[in-house]
């Protein structure tokens, strides 16, 4: 566990992931609950959470909405074949657009020519089509081909689960 500052942090972090993988209990004093489970005191628990969040190992302790339920029924994974020499600049530009929720460079594979991925969400099909067109305009001639893969069903949405996995 590369960002952890000590071996004891590493063990505590794994326990923390397992304890909260189904969610943080909605108790009045969640850090006291965690402290009790981890066998450390509450100030140490809070300090551990702060260290992990500062290091990016915890992004945030947050609510994950079902975006379909909130009216964001349309989700498009736009994929682009962008000139390798331009992708650093253009990836940053596309990632900075307010309608893009995730933006990554990924490898091309046999039968898969796309190296830039940008996820867009909207309340209507026309919203995500418009976002795709805006991205196309920003990429201009540096992009050879693109597609938008629209999601039609959530098959699973549990998030990270370590407890049930086979240990190496």
């Amino acid at each position: 566990m590369s960002v952890c500052t000590s071996p004891s942090d590493e063990g505590l972090t794994r326990r923390l992931i397992e304890l909260t993988e189904a969610g943080l209990p909605l108790v009045a004093d969640p850090w006291a609950w965690l402290a009790e489970e981890l066998g450390i005191d509450v100030d140490e628990t809070l300090a551990l959470l702060q260290r992990l969040q500062a290091a990016g190992a915890i992004r945030r302790i947050a609510a994950i909405p079902n975006h379909y339920r909130l009216g964001y029924r349309h989700n498009g994974m736009t994929v682009w074949d962008v000139d390798d020499g331009e992708i650093a600049r253009l990836g940053a530009l596309i990632g900075a657009q307010p309608f893009v929720s995730h933006c990554y460079r990924r490898p091309r594979q046999e039968g898969w020519p796309y190296n830039l991925f940008a996820m867009v969400h909207g309340r209507d099909a026309s919203d995500i089509e418009a976002y795709r067109n805006q991205i196309r305009a920003l990429l201009g001639s540096a992009c050879r081909a693109n597609e938008m893969l629209v999601s039609s069903r959530i098959l699973k949405k549990t998030g990270l689960r370590l407890a049930g996995q086979r240990r190496a």
Binding site: R59, Y72, G111, S151, L155, T158, G159, L162
Partner: protein
């Protein structure tokens, strides 16, 4: 869903503050009480408006790994293969997408080796080739749905 629910959903997508008494801090901010807010979060989880409330770990930063991968599943086997993936704890999310690569899923494992093993297992159990697309660079991640 009333105005306080909306404020709570918007606020909690940004995260609980890492202060000694986070629910009290939030209650003060939203003009409510710790107990009322927690009851509302519980109700939003129960009715499916929220799918989870808790820490979001970036396993990459902890020596683990995520990858995005896809399968091209014959229509008549789609539900069967979806159930096989649902049964695997390594599969964090799975979506149907309208494309010849019609099943897109995220694997999250404690080690990079765990990803390779999961992919090998999926290929062996389904008889289908996995398109593995691990991220090489993150330009942006910040999912937020204002309501």
């Amino acid at each position: 869903m009333d105005e306080l629910d909306r404020q709570l959903i918007n606020r909690l997508q940004h995260g609980l503050p890492l202060v000694r008494h986070p629910w009290e801090a939030l209650a003060e901010e939203l003009g409510s009480t710790s107990e009322a807010l927690r009851e509302r979060v519980q109700a939003l989880l129960e009715d499916g408006t929220l799918t989870r409330f808790g820490p979001m770990f970036d396993i990459d930063r902890l020596g683990g790994a995520f990858t995005l991968a896809a399968l091209s599943v014959p229509e008549e086997r789609f539900d069967e293969v979806a159930a096989q993936l649902t049964a695997m704890p390594e599969v964090a999310h799975n979506y149907r997408r309208e494309h010849c690569w019609n099943m897109w899923f995220v694997l999250g494992c404690e080690t990079p080796q765990g990803i390779a093993e999961s992919i090998a297992r999926i290929e062996a159990e389904t008889g289908l080739a996995v398109l593995n697309l691990p991220k090489e660079e993150t330009f942006h991640v910040g999912l937020h749905f204002p309501v």
